[in-house]
Symmetry: C2
Subunit: 177 residues, 2 copies
């Protein structure tokens, strides 16, 4: 059985605090370094999560409620590099997430609402329920990515244990993060 909407909301509620507990005050050798080439730092990932709170999840839910599948979602720009400090971005993520979840709860979406269809410009039909599940799994994708970015900084320091540390063998899907 899939997690219910209320269960998904419980996960969405916790991600900002989990990332805050992990990253706030952590040295820049861990938060401001990437996995090489044009990959992202943990700081950059938090900036992306902030950007998505602004342009992606709740705006798309509202779009479907307003237009159904008669108009495709508007495409959104990928965010520029985040401005300000990591603590500032973490604060913003917590604040925006709380606002968005309050707005979601205020909609009192019925099961009929959840199955309403919108139109993704690439995928075609998607439901509100799928937007909301994706919101939470997107959090997990980026928590997964951040744990990997942090681990990567110590890839040489672990010596022969590298073989047993799964996070250092996760390189097949960076492009999808």
């Amino acid at each position: 059985m899939e997690p219910s909407l209320q269960e998904t909301i419980q996960l969405l509620t916790r991600t900002p605090a989990a990332l805050d507990a992990l990253l706030r005050g952590l040295p820049e050798t861990l938060t401001m370094r990437n996995e090489g080439e044009d990959t992202w730092t943990a700081f950059r990932v938090i900036g992306h999560l902030v950007h998505c709170e602004h342009v992606n999840w709740m705006p798309r839910v509202r779009w479907i409620l307003e237009f159904g599948d008669t108009r495709p979602f508007e495409p959104f720009e990928r965010a520029a590099d985040p401005s300000g400090s990591l603590p500032h971005q973490l604060n913003e993520f917590s604040r925006l997430r709380a606002e968005n979840l309050a707005a979601l709860e205020a909609l009192h979406l019925s099961p009929e609402n959840l199955s309403l269809r919108g139109r993704h410009p690439v995928f075609g039909p998607v439901t509100i329920s799928q937007v909301l599940a994706t919101w939470a799994v997107h959090d997990m994708t980026h928590l997964h990515q951040i744990s990997r970015i942090i681990a990567y900084q110590s890839r040489d320091a672990v010596g022969p244990w590298i073989k047993y540390l799964g996070v250092l063998h996760c390189d097949g899907h960076s492009a999808k993060d």
Copy 2:
């Protein structure tokens, strides 16, 4: 440049709070389900982290300080299924981690100490520095795994977005987690 010992300790300090913020109070549809077959639940992973605080990291540091590479580490048993509730296991993890980090700080390890060699029964020579780096990357491996286990529960709910959610394409290294 690799993170320093002090930077590694800052990461080790934060993991219990990050996992607590993510998992405490989360519904059992997310914490008590696995990725199929004999894979682990998030609850089981926390039990494993608790077990490792007991038998792995600091005991091995002390072993190297006492025996150098004259005696291989004693093998340890993999933990049985954890007992008690998830909140209990999260409390235990926080408590033991704080105790172990206090014990580590009290050793005032010098750079010479950090490069002391022990003997792993399989790998052969390993240094204290490698044990400590592995401790932190092991945390990240399991945070990475938990984000994936949680995401897995909603793999069907995300619809066509599955293609873009990297965490749902991470299946090549479960055995090493």
